[in-house]
């Protein structure tokens, strides 16, 4: 079994996606062109070509291998919701002019005039908001949830951005296990609730938890913990 095969168990991903999106309000017809390639005729706006995959760990090389010989693709959809996606995947998507996301992202993109330029609304808000901050000079997406924030005349910080309504001890522990180094967890969801156990788990690991407003304020200061 090759490395690619181990990382991408997606033989039936195309059929699963095709069956589901056939029920989408803006989809007129769906054609499976290859096991991982789907053509969609939409009721409103132009046709869309989708590449489907199922991988728990995604990087640019893996997506490139999916796209080789696939022709022109508008959207690459990866089924596992908790997949770890390396930042170079998003760079490749920007370079090659396609969108990358999960199944929920695909459903939203099918409702947009240009699915190629679709950006998840949560991360679009996060990136735009940070790039407008006076202390921030560059933001780099390290992976699907971590950002490197480089600041004017202050040290850079790495944060894990979570959007869940409930921030639990498991989010903290699993975040550390999956993503490794970061200095704070930032809740981008304004309605997020942090459990007592989550706060304790974060304290034990010397990680701070901020809501979005607190995070923007903290960016003006030196971070003296977990360096």
């Amino acid at each position: 079994m090759t490395q690619l095969d181990r990382n991408r168990q997606d033989g039936s991903a195309g059929k699963w996606v095709a069956d589901k999106i056939a029920k989408h309000d803006n989809v007129a017809s769906v054609t499976i062109l290859a096991p991982n390639k789907i053509h969609v005729r939409r009721k409103k706006w132009d046709d869309v070509t989708i590449a489907a995959m199922s991988a728990h760990r995604v990087d640019a090389g893996l997506v490139q291998s999916l796209l080789s010989n696939a022709g022109d693709i508008d959207f690459v959809v990866n089924i596992p919701k908790a997949a770890y996606v390396l930042g170079n995947t998003y760079e490749l998507a920007a370079e090659r002019n396609f969108a990358f996301g999960g199944f929920g992202d695909l459903l939203s993109a099918l409702n947009s005039e240009s699915p190629r330029t679709y950006v998840n609304s949560e991360f679009s808000f996060v990136l735009r908001s940070l790039r407008q901050h006076s202390k921030v000079w560059r933001v780099t997406r390290l992976d699907d949830r971590r950002l490197l924030v480089e600041r004017n005349s202050l040290d850079s910080v790495v944060v894990l951005v979570l959007n869940d309504y409930e921030l639990t001890a498991d989010h903290v522990r699993n975040g550390i296990e999956r993503y490794g180094k970061f200095q704070a967890i930032v809740c981008s969801n304004p309605n997020s609730r942090v459990t007592t156990a989550a706060s304790l788990a974060a304290d034990e690991s010397h990680i701070r938890i901020f809501n979005w407003k607190e995070f923007l304020q903290q960016l003006n200061r030196e971070w003296t913990w977990k360096k």
Binding site: W16, S54, H56, I79, P80, G104, E166
Partner: protein, 100 residues
Amino acid sequence: MEEVSLTLRELAKLLAAKAPTAEWYLFGSVVRRVPLPSDIDVVIVYSNISDAHELREGLRSYSESVPLHLLLLRHDEENELQFVRDQRAIRIFPEEVSKR
């Protein structure tokens, strides 16, 4: 919803030996019978850290085939949040025995 419940119940039975006190619930768009759900929302209430690890690993293969949104709540967190009640989550395992 019935098909999803059946599959998850089978998985819960298989994983019961590894996480014996885990309670599995479905919530969100599948329970609300949204015509095209973007994911399958599952909350599992567990006891120990090791349970959470076993449950996540046990669901790894299933999560390759569907967009599974897994929320793992320790019993004390569920008591604090009352998530199951607030979300009107439906218990799928252990099955509730009806009283006569």
